[in-house]
């Protein structure tokens, strides 16, 4: 019995390197799952801080359906986010109206028409534009767009849906362009070659072959842009005018969900109802962007499977 185990032991080649290898494997595995931990952690901590509000003062119908966000009202504070949702939605909607056609157009030009150096330079330029920080965009809205809108449209104030929508559109467009261009690039070249062999012109190839094949990827790009717009904070804080309002026109000032948190969190006492209500908005934002990102991922995965 002992001789047998001795024999086995001599076959055991687990040296120092083997143990290092195992240890590293565990370390990188832990790091790998840290992304999951963080996402769960974000949800857990934001929910934890907002939980008190959810338990006592929270009424789902008031929260979602009341346009009155008056957390500092002394007699009867109300916590309705309808107007804030309307603000975020109107700004994001206008931004997409501005950004979607132009970024898809730019993606088609860069991916399908431009070639060689021109394409390379355009891609670099788009990448640099995507890097401009959001607080700078907010500053641009405040100092450049604001007087421009006042002068062009003859309105008293230029901080409104239009301003924030354009700013957000310019901001989201480069990111959407590069994702959309990736989606076009993912269409195999043999599709284009087959269409060209049948005598199709470049535009016919794009319109009839490439765009239908890249449809899901392009939709994914748009959805990611929407997610971006929904979650943008500094730019909308500075450019919307920050007035609680359900907008009737693009010249009305509004206030966004994200901007409300950014503007009010500093003034609230930790643990107060107002503070907890802001965290509840955070939960709401987290869930919405989670759903948008998940949908975008499912759509993009859909094409890879085919």
């Amino acid at each position: 019995m002992t001789t047998q185990s001795n024999q086995l032991a001599s076959f055991d080649q687990r040296d120092k390197e083997w143990y290092i290898d195992k240890a590293i494997q565990i370390i990188v595995f832990m790091s790998g799952i840290s992304a999951i931990l963080f996402v769960v952690g974000i949800f857990a901590f934001v929910t934890m801080e907002g939980f008190g509000f959810l338990l006592k003062d929270f009424s789902i119908s008031e929260f979602l359906l009341s346009p009155w966000w008056e957390p500092t009202d002394e007699d009867e504070p109300t916590y309705g986010i309808l107007a804030l949702v309307a603000g975020t939605a109107s700004v994001t909607g206008l931004a997409m109206l501005v950004a979607v056609p132009f970024s898809l157009g730019a993606a088609i030009y860069i991916g399908e028409f431009a070639s060689g150096k021109k394409r390379e330079y355009l891609k670099i330029l788009i990448e640099l534009l995507a890097a401009i920080p959001s607080v700078v965009w907010g500053f641009i809205g405040l100092t450049i767009m604001n007087p421009l809108i006042i002068a062009v449209f003859d309105v008293p104030v230029g901080l409104n849906v239009l301003n924030a929508g354009i700013i957000l559109g310019l901001m989201a467009a480069p990111i959407m362009t590069s994702i959309a261009e990736d989606a076009l690039k993912a269409v195999p070249d043999r599709y284009r070659e087959a269409a060209e062999a049948l005598g199709a012109t470049r535009w016919q190839v794009i319109y009839k072959t490439v765009l239908p094949a890249a449809k899901n990827g392009l939709l994914g790009a748009v959805l990611l842009g929407v997610g971006r717009g929904f979650g943008e904070t500094m730019a909308v804080l500075m450019a919307t005018g920050h007035a609680i309002n359900i907008p009737g026109s693009v010249f009305d000032p509004v206030r966004a969900l994200t901007a409300t948190i950014a503007a009010e969190l500093g003034e609230t006492a930790v643990g107060s109802t107002h503070y907890e209500a802001l965290f509840t908005i955070g939960i709401f934002l987290f869930l919405i962007t989670f759903i948008i990102n998940l949908t975008a991922d499912l759509i993009v995965r859909g094409i890879r499977k085919q």
Binding site: S34, A35, L125, L128, V135, I140, T258, L278
Partner: protein, 293 residues
């Protein structure tokens, strides 16, 4: 042989014309996307360029931030970015090594990838709330560089993971097989063969992350950055000023700021970010030229 064969038909001509029309249309759309931003940046340079000087970069703000320079904000941004990198780079590179070298193609890896996508998509203000709930209050770091940098690190983690994973995967699989055949363990292969071949690509991603981290404002507002501090931070438990927040403050919160000042701050911030991105891009192109496989 009749020469008619080689003469353009009406159909050819129409096709060509449509082709040219669409091409022009898409060129115009691309230009409309780029030109406004270029004009805006030009305006910023025009209005803020004059104020930028060595003094502006290296003196403290005075008179309620209406005069003087931005030195503490620059130093603060440096602190925040450095501490954030110290956290996110090891974690992100290790996670990328797991995803590229160890993970099987199964549902579990898919969940990790989904988590990475979501981490990148969570609004920055929600990251800020997380930072307040977790680091400032729960772990008791208070509003400090540590809390702000942790928040920034988690927010920008996907940038490191995605770019590192890409450069690891661009190392040909045959390199690994050759190494395993010599009897090397998985880690020996990674350390001696895969990482040295991917290190420049990883660096490119890290530079990109510096740019992202330096520009963020919302995540640091409530976790460690202060509107104004009369002293420089001495350690990670101090609060600090930051360039991005300083721009927000002088643009919206401080009365009687001379016009040029916020433009100057914006210009320095953009300059810093674009410089980092340009270095990263130049590095990447240099690498592509050098690659032997």
């Amino acid at each position: 042989m009749n020469s008619e064969m080689f003469i353009e038909s009406d159909l050819n001509r129409t096709n060509k014309r449509t082709q040219a029309l669409y091409r022009t249309l898409f060129i115009i759309m691309t230009l409309l996307l780029i030109l406004p931003v270029v004009i805006i940046l030009g305006t910023l340079v025009y209005k803020g360029g004059g104020i930028i000087s060595i003094d502006f970069l290296f003196t403290d703000p005075i008179n309620g931030m209406t005069e003087g320079g931005i030195f503490p904000a620059l130093v603060g941004t440096l602190w925040l970015v450095s501490v954030a990198l110290l956290i996110s780079v090891p974690l992100g590179v290790a996670a990328a090594i797991y995803l590229s070298e160890y993970a099987a193609d199964n549902w579990f890896t898919r969940i990790i990838n989904l988590a990475i996508i979501n981490l990148a998509g969570v609004p920055s203000i929600v990251h800020a709330l997380f930072g307040v709930g977790a680091f400032v209050i729960f772990f008791g770091f208070g509003t400090s560089i540590l809390a702000a940098s942790l928040t920034l690190a988690i927010m920008t983690l996907p940038v490191v993971i995605v770019s590192t994973r890409e450069s690891l995967q661009s190392v040909p699989y045959a390199f690994r097989e050759a190494c395993w055949n010599m009897g090397a363990t998985r880690w020996q292969t990674i350390r001696r063969v895969v990482l040295p071949n991917a290190v420049s690509g990883i660096l490119t991603g890290i530079i990109l992350e510096v740019s992202r981290t330096a520009g963020e404002t919302a995540p640091i507002m409530f976790t460690g950055a202060a509107f104004f501090l009369p002293y420089l931070p001495q350690g990670v438990f101090d609060q600090t000023m930051a360039l991005s927040l300083h721009l927000f403050v002088v643009a919206t919160q401080v009365p009687n700021v001379p016009d040029a000042l916020p433009y100057g701050v914006a210009l320095v911030l953009i300059g810093l970010v674009l410089l980092m991105n340009s270095i990263s891009i130049a590095f990447r192109m240099h690498l592509r030229g050098k690659k032997k496989w």
